[in-house]
Every structure is written in structure tokens, then in C-alpha cells.
């Protein structure tokens, strides 16, 4: 009852920290949800060291890494949610297979979510929702992507034939089926690389987006180089402490770090041919994120539960929002739409944000988002807002690199963003971080992460 008598002015004072308002969830009648810890496997370019593994192997590594790092028992986990995009058909509920393999209790349920490049954000959102709703206290959210092996299917005609072959009883029927085979049946079907709704490949859309916002190739190359430089610095300084080493079966050494970070000389970068729109496009292989294998996982619980268990949380998970827009011309503008909305929900201004972490799908996409966020015309004509939100300041943006350099295992990036945000808040002595990402289907996510008092790297 005492809390109810606090006047608004007092309330504001109560939750003011370092000059900015904090967002105690309790004030809104919600639980305070904390991000205890998060880990990821090293992100490797597909077709390299993880080549012979299976997707759930990687997810298992991240789950094991997480419980070991937190020092908890697998039985402490109430629920597991894992995001993935290209599904291995043998392990379609990969969350369940991975947690069973990791020695979690077979009494712990698990499910898999998919939302393109923000799949593990969706996993986090699911966990937060379950906790907020009082279903569980402790959830693991993760993500995994394995592009070294993808399900390539037989053609529809061939599949139909094979299914019929199952039912063929006599030799005559079987021969009849065999005779109906046509050369075209052998054309394989690759997993959808193009948007189903528009038939357009993402890189193609990114190139058009960059052109629509007048982003030059030079700007894109410069941004990509920055990403690699930042990532390399962060790695060398040991900031990327969310990485847990993986012992790949049959390999002599441990895989300990990401292998996609590299500085390409500017002249080589400039000489790269466009990868999607030829010959005049601006998106090249060097300024795009590459196909990556990797997995991530994080532990989410209530502040109360963490205290009870003696866990030391890294951050509060505050507001979040998912957005969606036209999958053709605005496919990759998720951050532009999500940023102002999540800020408003949290009652914050862009200047309140100390750490910005965006998913870098393409350098051109990030720069286009910056220009869109900085354009009154776009805010008014497309978003129905009265004014622009403004682009994030570069010195606070993806200071430890991003998907362009570290890599982008579609399903796993969301947790990586959350951990970078939490760790950077500690390292850079900030208070609030904003995460945003775009995803296929014209969707996006925005999340606000707040540093937990006394959190350490």
C-alpha cells in the first residue's frame, strides 16, 4: 500500500539514475526481467570448421556453454526456446533435440521459433512473455543457424513420384512409375533464398534500397571496413567474452574465435564486382554479411529469481517491439520503424541511449536505415510520423563490430546483439542500449536493454 502513496514526482526521482530515467517494470505492474548471461559459439563462415557437424550440435554447444558459464544445473531451466531459419528436416524442433543432447532434463519442454533474421529475438520475446505471464521463472532463449548444409529437395514431381513409389505393389506398377520419370524431375529445389511474396533476393532488395537512399558504394565499403576494424579491436582487447570455444569432433584444435573478421584493402574492396545487380549495383560480397554457422543462447529470469539463485544478471530486458512493413521496397527498414516506436514505448529520447546495437545485414542497408531515420520526408510520407527520429551517433554504434564482420547465423544473431548491448553497457559505462534488426518478410525488432546495477563482464 505504501507504494501507492508515492507521488509521481517522487516516483520519477526514485527511478532516476545517472541523469536518465530508469524504467522499473514494477511501476507498470510488470516483473523485472533480467538477462543473466549469454554465450555463443564462435561464428564461422559456412563451409569451414563446422562443416561436418549438424545444426543441433552447434545449438547444444551453446546450451552447454551457457549453463557452465552461469554455473547452474540444467534442471534449473524451466523452458527452452530456440530460433532458427533454414530448418534441418531431421530436427525440425531443434530446440528439443539440442537440449536433450546437452543433458538437460527430459522433463523440460522446448520449442523452436522462426522469424527470419530476428528468430532469436523472437525466442527472447517468447521467454519474456512466458515469464511475464507467470508460466515459468527461468527460460533459455537461443538461436542457431547452419548454412554449411541446407536441405535441398527433390522437385515436386519427383517427390510425388517417390511417394507413389511407396505405394506401388507390383513390379509392373514400379516399372510404370520408372517410365514416367522425365529429365526435368531431376532439377533440385533449393530452400527459398528469395522472398516468397515478392520473388526478390534480399541482396537485390538491399541494392535497390541503397540506391533509393542515395547510398554510394564508397560509403558502403567504408562502413563495412569500420565494422571489421571494430570487431577486430574488440576481439583483440578480449571484449567478445560471450564466445565459448567449441571442440569440433575430429579436429586437432579448439575453435576459439570468429573467422570472418578481416580487413580488406580499400582498393580491393573498391574493385569488387556487384553481387546482385549487375553491372551497376553497389552491394558487393565485401560489404554484405556472409553465410555463417553459429549458435547462441542466453538465460532469462526474473530479478527475484536471480537473487534467489545467486546469479549475477548483466542487464534488464525492458521494452520491446516487433514491426513489419512492405516486404518489397522496405524489406530491410526494420530498424527505422522499430527505433522510434520502442523509444516511445519506453518514454525515452534517442539521446538517452548510450549503446546502439543494430544487426548489419548489408552495409548499404544500415546506411539506408540511417538516412531514413534522418529524413523528415520519409518519417512523414511513409511512417506517418510528425518528424524524424534521427540517426544514431556513430561513436555509440556497433562499436564491437556487427554482422558484417562477426558473421550472421540468421537464427543466432538476436542473442548476440543482446549480449553485445549488455556487455558494451558495462564496458562503456552506459545505462541504456537499443537493439534493432531487420528481417526477411519486411519485419523488424527493437529492444531496450538496461544495465544491471553492479553487472560485470
Amino acid at each position: 500500500m505504501a507504494a501507492l502513496q508515492i507521488k509521481p514526482a517522487q516516483l520519477k526521482k526514485l527511478f532516476t539514475y545517472g541523469g536518465v530515467r530508469t524504467m522499473a517494470a514494477a511501476a507498470q505492474g510488470k516483473k523485472n526481467i533480467v538477462l543473466v548471461e549469454g554465450v555463443r559459439t564462435p561464428f564461422l563462415m559456412s563451409g569451414t570448421d563446422y562443416n561436418k557437424m549438424m545444426p543441433h550440435d552447434l545449438a547444444r554447444e551453446s546450451l552447454l556453454g551457457l549453463v557452465r558459464k552461469v554455473g547452474c544445473e540444467p534442471s534449473d531451466i524451466d523452458y527452452v526456446t530456440i530460433g532458427t531459419v533454414i530448418q534441418e528436416v531431421k530436427t525440425s524442433n531443434i530446440a528439443r533435440e539440442a537440449m536433450l543432447g546437452a543433458g538437460f532434463s527430459d522433463r523440460t519442454p522446448a520449442h523452436t521459433v522462426t522469424m527470419a533474421c530476428i528468430s532469436s529475438n523472437a525466442a527472447i520475446a517468447t521467454s519474456v512473455g512466458l515469464i511475464q505471464a507467470g508460466v515459468y521463472d527461468t527460460c533459455v532463449a537461443g538461436g542457431v543457424e547452419f548454412m554449411s548444409d541446407i536441405p535441398i529437395r527433390h522437385s515436386r514431381q519427383m517427390r510425388a513420384l517417390m511417394l507413389r513409389a511407396n505405394r506401388a505393389k507390383t513390379m509392373g506398377q514400379r516399372l510404370g512409375l520408372l517410365a514416367s520419370i522425365r529429365p526435368s524431375f531431376f532439377t533440385p529445389e533449393l530452400p527459398g533464398i528469395a522472398e516468397f511474396s515478392t520473388g526478390e533476393v534480399m541482396g537485390h532488395s538491399a541494392d535497390r534500397l541503397a540506391a533509393a537512399f542515395c547510398v554510394s558504394k564508397a560509403e558502403q565499403d567504408e562502413f563495412a571496413t569500420r565494422s571489421h576494424r571494430c570487431a577486430m579491436d574488440a576481439r583483440d582487447k578480449g571484449f567478445l567474452c560471450d564466445v565459448v570455444p567449441v571442440k569440433v569432433p575430429g579436429k586437432e584444435v579448439l575453435v576459439e574465435q570468429d573467422n570472418g573478421i578481416r580487413i580488406t584493402p580499400p582498393e580491393k574492396m573498391a574493385a569488387m564486382k556487384p553481387a546482385f545487380i549487375k553491372p551497376h549495383g553497389s552491394v558487393t560480397a565485401a560489404n554484405s554479411s556472409f553465410l555463417t554457422d553459429g549458435a547462441s543462447a542466453c538465460l532469462i529470469t526474473t530479478e527475484e529469481k536471480a537473487k534467489q539463485m545467486g546469479w549475477k544478471p548483466k542487464a534488464y530486458l525492458r521494452e520491446m517491439t516487433f514491426v513489419s512493413q512492405d516486404p518489397k521496397d522496405q524489406l530491410l527498414l526494420g530498424p527505422t520503424y522499430a527505433t522510434p516506436r520502442v523509444l516511445e514505448k519506453a518514454g525515452l529520447k534517442p539521446k538517452d541511449i548510450d549503446v546502439w546495437e543494430f544487426h548489419e545485414a548489408f552495409a548499404g542497408q544500415i546506411l539506408a536505415n540511417f538516412k531514413a531515420m534522418d529524413s523528415d520526408y520519409f518519417a512523414k510520407s511513409q511512417m506517418g510520423r510528425s518528424a524524424k527520429v534521427g540517426a544514431p551517433p556513430m561513436e555509440k554504434f556497433n562499436n564491437w563490430g556487427g554482422s558484417l564482420s562477426i558473421g550472421h547465423p540468421f537464427g543466432a544473431t538476436g542473442v548476440r546483439l543482446a549480449m553485445h548491448a549488455a556487455h558494451r553497457l558495462i564496458q562503456e559505462d552506459g545505462k541504456l542500449a537499443l537493439i534493432a534488426a531487420c528481417a526477411a518478410g519486411g519485419q523488424g525488432v527493437g529492444m531496450i536493454v538496461e544495465r544491471y546495477p553492479g553487472a560485470k563482464l
Partner: protein, 815 residues
């Protein structure tokens, strides 16, 4: 065996994939997946396919339009809008010259909505070209329009209409040819940057430049001159086959069809594509045009420096074709086949396609220069033909009927409801949902409803198959369809269109039931071909909201919509109905209510005359031949079968009762007896002809002949081919003129459009009113009096026709 093969194949493929991904970031894997696909097996299959295609080359001509004569050929509205006329403007207003680096930019921006090609434009273009040649710091040039909607929409029609003699026409063509020859001869490369339409003269300009960049999905290219009874007179007949191939050029020039940018690229008409941009820092079209310019300028500069060379590799099929055309036998084969096709489609009534064939042939035989000479002569000759005048008139009329003369409706109808999921109802629903309108489709029972849904679905699938829309768009369109067997959802409908059985009592029942549930503002439209709207509206609580919308079957193909207003119909109701019709892609005429409205009414006396002709001994085949030779796209006997003899019977009985003897002709008992015998036309499998299910053979129905024989009449000396043709047309035209006289029609324009697009009146005439202007009202009156002397009152010329004959006035006075 099967498994082994597939396993081997997937192995090859995955191995490649791994190798590729090990190449790291040389390129994105996704890209490679695509590019590397035709490896091994696939490459072999690919080559086999190519081989088969090359064998089929000779039959490539099958793509010719099968409906050159059909009104629907007169294309999507867009193609027509684009010929639009502009006022001649003062000098130096059309082409602006700028410079960017070593590239000159010729910016086309005529005052008005579209850029067209006419004297002043060509003069300014010539001037700009001279400036380009004279400036040593300029190495290349880009030709671009400032209008995102069109590059150059074609020749200025008003200029074409002013041509009075063959020589004038030739001079026009020659001037354009010379200008474009000069452009082509330029050592400094010219690049066309095409966004929007490049039609006719516009495409000819583009073809004379050295490189063409077009915006994918936002550019349409074509030479639609044939639809105006002309030929591409600016070197188009010669450059088109050179850039594409003879069969492709014939296809485009003879049908006048437009191709989208990506198809144009495949044909060789366009060298590079630019993708349309979405919303960014500016509105999408503006920025896309800028982007196109950036790319074109870069391209031009690279062409000048030699860094970029145009790649114009022909496909295997085209190579084989080009090789074959060097020899007389295959050449004759191709051209004879094309000519036969044209003759079949046009019965030789349209001079333009035949001339186009000759002119293209002249170029193939004698080379570019000889071809140009033939083209210039041909253009001059065609420009003064009455067919050209008629078709241009039709074009103006169509443009007119794509406007809403009642203005903007107060409430834009977004949600339609169609009652009755039969052929018409489902057709109306289809043309609504695929234009983005929501449409409730209601039927009495689920069986009828399912049939209707299937019809809509089949129509949309066909569009997907033709790649007119994506399968995703198809899904969205289908989602706009709301099938029901109750009146649920009608409370949110903006317009209800009933397409139930043609029976006044049923229509009344439906109208009253509907008015119970629809909101205040909702309009009730009746799709009927003959029932007077005033009678239908008699039971309405709000007759000002009741209107007639007469669609033609099949709804998705026939372009015409006849809207019928009663004395009580409000202007806003009419505005909304026209607005819906236009959004459904229709050409709309609005007429006053009366028995048979306009289209049904003018058809009736002609059908009666048909029966008389048949009774006088002509066989249905003779009748079909005669009328088709006259220019009707469908023979009259076949038309009767298509309409349905039972329908014809009802209509002639109803209208006969109102109009009396004027609508007499053959014996009404003939049709009655045929209907009684079950000969109702195509729908019953028997009519004038038999319609066996599994073949396309259409043998004459002997049973029908028996009946005709029973009622046979002695010919009265007016049964020469020409007389029969004129007898039929005269009754049709006279009734049309009478409709204008009585105020059913608001203008001759709507009369012409209704007759051509709804009933197939010979299109090259431009419609019944232009037909009268062309042959002279006096001549027609004279002929009719001759017929009236024998057949009586049915051939009495109406007063307005007599007045016109006496005064020499025209329905379309010369400007």
C-alpha cells in the same frame, strides 16, 4: 537406378556448393547457387532444350494475335491513353540540353502530360544533336524524359490527322527517318534511358540510339501503329527485325502489342535493365528516374571510352532463324505463313498489317535502305486510308469513354457485392477482385457458389500462368473475394450488382431483400441485357440509388460496360457506377433507360434481318462468311448461337411488342421452333451449328436447316452479297441513329464505342456513326429506300438520318 541418379546429382551439386563456399567471400553463395546451377546434367538438358527450340523456330509465328480483329485487341486502356494528343508548343520547350562530365543529357519534357513526337520536338532534337556533335568535350549523350510515366508516348496524333495526301504522309515519315538515321550515324554514342512508355515513334527513337537502358517493370515498349491503321514510319519496321528477329518483329508490328522491359531485354530490344526503387529520400518514381539517369550517364561514358561494349548475343533460335532467312525457301515460308495468318484474322480488310509485312519483307530482301524507302511509301499510303481514319476515331472515342463524365462520386465504392454466382456474376466479381476491390459473391446455394468461385479462380490462375501477375498477387486477389450464401456482410457494401436470372419477378424479389440489409448510401445495380431498369426500380424504396450495369459476356474479356440511368437515378449514383466500371478496366458508355437500352436494341432488328436472310436460302455458313467478310469479328449465325437463340427469342418478342413492325424481319416462328427443338445455341450444344464436346468441328445443324426450309421465302432480288451485307448493317445503323435521335444516347461517340466494343461492329469503320459519315447519310438513305420498297417499314430511315442526308451534316464535323 532412380535413386542413384538423384543421389549422384545432389552429390555433384553439394560438392560444388562446398567448393564455392570455401572460396569465401569472393561472392555470395546465394548468387553462385543460381549461377552454377546449369552444371553437368543441367547444362546438357539446357542444350537439348535449346535444340528443340530451334527446331520449333518456324512455328514461332503462332504467337500472332488471334484476335487482331476483335475489339479486345484494342488493347489495355494504357496503350491508348499513350497516343494522347498535345497542343503544339512554342520552340525550345521540348528538349533541354545539359552536360554531366563528358556526357550530354537530352532531356525530353514537352509541356503537358506526355511527350509525343511531332515537328517541333524533332526540330529541337536535331538542334540538340548538332550541339552534341559540335562540343568536343562531349563524348556521348543520354536521351531521357523528365516524365516518369513516359519516355515518348508515340507520334502526335493530331499531326497524323492533319495529313491530307500520300505525299504529306511520306514527308512526315522521311523527316523522322532522316533524323534517326543521323542519330544512328553519330560517332558519339547515344543512350536511351527509358522509363514509362516508349511506343511507336518513341520506340523508334530509342531503337536508333546505340544502347537502351530501361526500368524493369516500369517501361513498356511497342509499335502499336497497326492499331491505328498505320505502320511504324520512323525506321521502326527496319530496326525492329535487326535488333530482335524477323518473327519477333512481325509479331510486335502486326499485333501492336506492348512488351515490358524484361521481355524487351530477352528480345534484344533493350540492352540493360535498371530496377525500380521504393520510397527513399524522395518519392519512388522521381528517385527511380534519377537513378536511371545515373546509370545511363555512366553507361554512355563507358560506351564512349570503349570500356563497355554492347553485348547483343542472339539466342540459338534467333541465330537459326537469321541464318535460314538468307534463303528464299524459309523466307517465303515465314512471310507466307504470316500473311496467311493476317488474312485469316482480318479477311484482308485492314491494309496496315499487309503493308507492314511488305515493308519488313522489302528490308529483308533489299537491305536497310530499300526497306526505309518502302516504309516511307507505305506510311504515306496508309495515312490517308479510311481505315486509318476510322481507327483513329475509335481511339479518340475509347479515350473519351475512359473518363467519368459525371465527375467524382461522393463515396468511392470499395466493397462490392454481386448477387448470383453464374457466368456473369462470377465474371463481374473477377474483374473487381483483381483490381483490388473487395467483393462479396452471393449465390442461393453452395453448389452454384462453388462454380462461381472456380470461375474466378481459373481466371486469376490464367493470369498467373501468363505471368501477368505473380502467384502471390493471385493469392491476394482471391482473398478479396468473399463468398457467401447469406446476406451477411451486405450491411457494409457500397454497391450491390445483381446478376440473377433475367426475370422481372425474381429481380424484384432480390431488390427488396437486398434493400432490407444494405446501408443507406449503397447503390443497387442491375446487370440485365433487356429488362427496363425503370420497371426493376419500381419496387425500390430509393429509386435514385438504382441503376443498370449491362456487362458483356465473357466479362473478363469484353471491354464494354453499358450503364443505364432512369429518370430517377441520381447523378451521384451514375458517377459511382461509372467509377466502378472504369476501375474494373471497362470502357463505359452511359445511356438512358428504354427497351433494350442501346446495344440490345440495335442488335435486335439486325438479328431479325438475319433470320430473313436465312429463310431466303442462305445457309448459316454463307451468312457467317458474308458478315465476316464485311468486318464483323464473329459471323452473324455464330453470334446468334453465342447469344443464345432463346435469349434472342425473348428479346425480339419483348422489343417487337414495343417497337412493332419496325423490328420485323424473318418469321418469329423460326426461332420459336428452333428453341422448342432444343436448338438454343452453344449452351445447349445445338443451334445453327452443332457443338460436339470433344472436337472443335462445328458442323451445321441439319435440324435447324429443316426448320429454315419449312419457312423458306423466295428471295426478292436483294440477295447479292453486297445487298445482304448492307441490309444487315443498315438496320443496325439506322436503329443506332434513332437512339441518338431519341436521346437514349448522349453522343455519337458513345454510340460508336458501344457498337464496336459490345457488338463487334466492324472496328475499322470507327463505329456506326463514323460509318454513316464515311459513306454519307445520303447514300445510306438511298439504299434503305431501295430495301424499304421491297421489305417495308423495317428499312424506313429515321428522321435524324434523313435530316443528315438532306443537310449533308456529319456526326463528327471536321475540326
Amino acid at each position: 537406378m532412380l535413386n542413384k541418379c538423384t543421389r549422384f546429382f545432389s552429390k555433384v551439386l553439394t560438392k560444388n556448393l562446398v567448393l564455392i563456399s570455401e572460396k569465401r567471400r569472393e561472392t555470395h553463395l546465394f548468387v553462385l547457387l543460381r549461377r552454377e546451377l546449369p552444371t553437368g546434367w543441367l547444362r546438357l538438358l539446357f542444350i537439348i532444350k535449346l535444340f528443340i527450340m530451334s527446331i520449333r523456330a518456324a512455328s514461332a509465328l503462332r504467337h500472332f494475335s488471334h484476335s487482331l480483329l476483335l475489339p479486345s485487341r484494342f488493347g489495355p486502356a494504357a496503350s491508348w491513353r499513350l497516343f494522347a494528343t498535345t497542343n503544339p508548343a512554342a520552340a525550345n520547350q521540348h528538349v533541354k540540353l545539359e552536360k554531366q562530365g563528358d556526357v550530354a543529357i537530352l532531356r525530353l519534357d514537352s509541356p503537358g502530360k506526355v511527350n509525343v513526337l511531332n515537328q517541333p520536338v524533332m526540330e529541337e532534337m536535331a538542334e540538340a544533336m548538332k550541339a552534341v556533335q559540335a562540343d568536343p568535350s562531349v563524348n556521348a549523350a543520354v536521351l531521357i524524359s523528365s516524365k516518369p510515366g513516359n519516355f515518348i508516348a508515340g507520334a502526335d496524333i493530331s499531326m497524323l490527322e492533319r495529313v491530307q495526301s500520300v505525299e504529306e504522309g511520306q514527308a512526315l515519315s522521311k523527316a523522322c527517318q532522316d533524323l534517326l538515321d543521323e542519330m544512328e550515324a553519330s560517332k558519339k554514342p547515344f543512350v536511351s534511358a527509358i522509363m514509362g512508355t516508349a511506343l511507336g515513334g518513341g520506340l523508334e527513337v530509342a531503337m536508333a540510339t546505340h544502347y537502351r537502358v530501361a526500368v524493369k517493370g516500369k517501361a513498356s515498349l511497342g509499335v502499336p501503329e497497326v492499331l491505328l491503321g498505320l505502320l511504324p514510319g520512323g525506321g521502326g519496321t527496319q530496326r525492329l527485325p535487326r535488333l530482335t528477329s524477323v518473327p519477333n518483329a512481325l509479331d510486335m508490328a502486326l499485333t501492336g502489342k506492348m512488351v515490358k522491359a524484361d521481355k524487351a531485354k530477352k528480345l534484344g530490344l533493350v540492352d540493360a535493365l535498371v530496377n525500380p526503387l521504393g520510397p527513399g529520400l524522395k518519392d519512388p518514381d522521381t528517385r527511380t528516374l534519377e537513378y536511371l539517369e545515373e546509370v545511363a550517364v555512366k553507361t554512355a561514358s563507358q560506351l564512349a571510352s570503349g570500356k563497355l561494349k554492347p553485348k547483343r548475343e542472339k539466342g540459338m533460335m534467333d541465330k537459326v532463324m537469321n541464318f535460314a532467312l538468307k534463303y528464299d525457301y524459309p523466307k517465303n515460308f515465314v512471310f507466307n505463313k504470316a500473311r496467311a495468318q493476317v488474312m485469316k484474322q482480318t479477311n484482308g480488310l485492314y491494309p496496315a498489317p499487309l503493308k507492314i509485312l511488305d515493308v519488313i519483307r522489302a528490308g529483308v530482301d533489299g537491305g536497310f535502305k530499300k526497306g526505309l524507302e518502302a516504309e516511307c511509301r507505305g506510311f504515306g499510303e496508309l495515312a490517308v486510308t479510311p481505315e486509318c481514319r476510322g481507327l483513329i476515331g475509335l481511339f479518340h472515342g475509347q479515350t473519351e469513354c475512359k473518363k467519368n463524365r459525371f465527375g467524382k462520386p461522393q463515396h468511392k465504392a470499395q466493397k462490392l457485392a454481386v448477387l448470383g454466382a453464374g457466368l456473369m456474376g462470377a465474371g463481374i466479381a473477377q474483374v473487381s477482385v483483381d483490381k483490388g476491390m473487395q467483393c462479396i459473391l452471393k449465390d442461393m446455394n453452395t453448389k452454384g457458389l462453388a462454380r462461381g468461385i472456380n470461375q474466378v479462380e481459373a481466371g486469376i490462375k490464367k493470369k498467373v500462368k501468363r505471368r501477368a501477375i505473380t502467384s502471390f498477387q493471385g493469392e491476394q486477389y482471391m482473398s478479396n473475394l468473399i463468398p457467401t450464401i447469406t446476406y451477411e456482410g451486405f450491411d457494409k457494401a457500397d454497391m450491390v450488382i445483381e446478376a440473377v436470372f433475367e426475370d422481372l419477378a425474381i429481380k424484384h424479389k432480390v431488390l427488396q431483400a437486398t434493400e432490407e440489409v444494405i446501408p443507406e448510401h449503397c447503390i443497387f445495380a442491375s446487370n440485365t441485357s433487356a429488362l427496363p431498369i425503370t420497371k426493376i426500380a419500381a419496387v425500390s424504396k430509393r429509386p435514385e440509388k438504382v441503376i443498370g450495369m449491362h456487362y458483356f459476356s465473357p466479362v473478363d474479356k469484353m471491354q464494354l460496360l453499358e450503364i443505364i440511368t432512369t429518370d430517377k437515378t441520381s447523378k451521384d449514383t451514375a458517377a459511382s457506377a461509372v467509377d466502378v466500371g472504369l476501375r474494373q478496366g471497362k470502357v463505359v458508355i452511359t445511356v438512358k433507360d428504354g427497351p433494350g437500352f442501346y446495344t440490345t436494341r440495335i442488335l435486335a432488328p439486325m438479328l431479325a434481318e438475319n433470320i430473313r436472310v436465312l429463310q431466303e436460302g442462305a445457309s448459316p455458313k454463307d451468312l457467317d462468311r458474308l458478315t465476316k467478310n464485311y468486318g464483323w469479328p464473329v459471323g452473324m449465325a455464330t453470334l446468334a448461337d453465342e447469344v443464345g437463340l432463346d435469349v434472342a427469342m425473348h428479346v425480339s418478342a419483348d422489343l417487337g411488342a414495343v417497337f412493332g413492325e419496325r423490328f420485323s424481319g424473318g418469321n418469329v416462328e423460326v426461332i420459336k421452333e428452333m428453341v422448342e427443338a432444343g436448338f438454343m445455341g452453344r449452351k445447349s450444344g445445338k443451334g445453327m451449328y452443332l457443338y460436339p464436346k470433344d472436337t472443335k468441328e462445328r458442323p451445321i445443324n441439319e435440324g435447324a436447316l429443316e426448320i429454315l426450309k419449312k419457312y423458306s421465302l423466295a428471295p426478292r432480288g436483294l440477295s447479292s452479297d453486297a445487298d445482304i451485307q448492307l441490309r444487315l448493317v443498315a438496320r443496325f445503323v439506322n436503329e443506332a441513329v434513332l437512339c441518338l435521335q431519341e436521346g437514349i444516347l448522349a453522343s455519337p461517340v458513345e454510340g460508336d464505342i458501344g457498337a464496336v466494343f459490345g457488338l463487334g461492329f466492324p472496328p475499322f469503320t470507327g463505329g456506326p456513326f463514323r460509318f454513316v459519315d464515311r459513306i454519307g447519310a445520303g447514300q445510306l438513305v438511298k439504299a434503305m429506300e431501295r430495301f424499304a420498297a421491297v421489305y417495308g417499314v423495317g428499312f424506313e430511315p429515321c428522321q435524324l438520318l434523313r435530316d443528315q442526308a438532306a443537310s449533308g451534316a456529319k456526326f463528327y464535323p471536321a475540326k
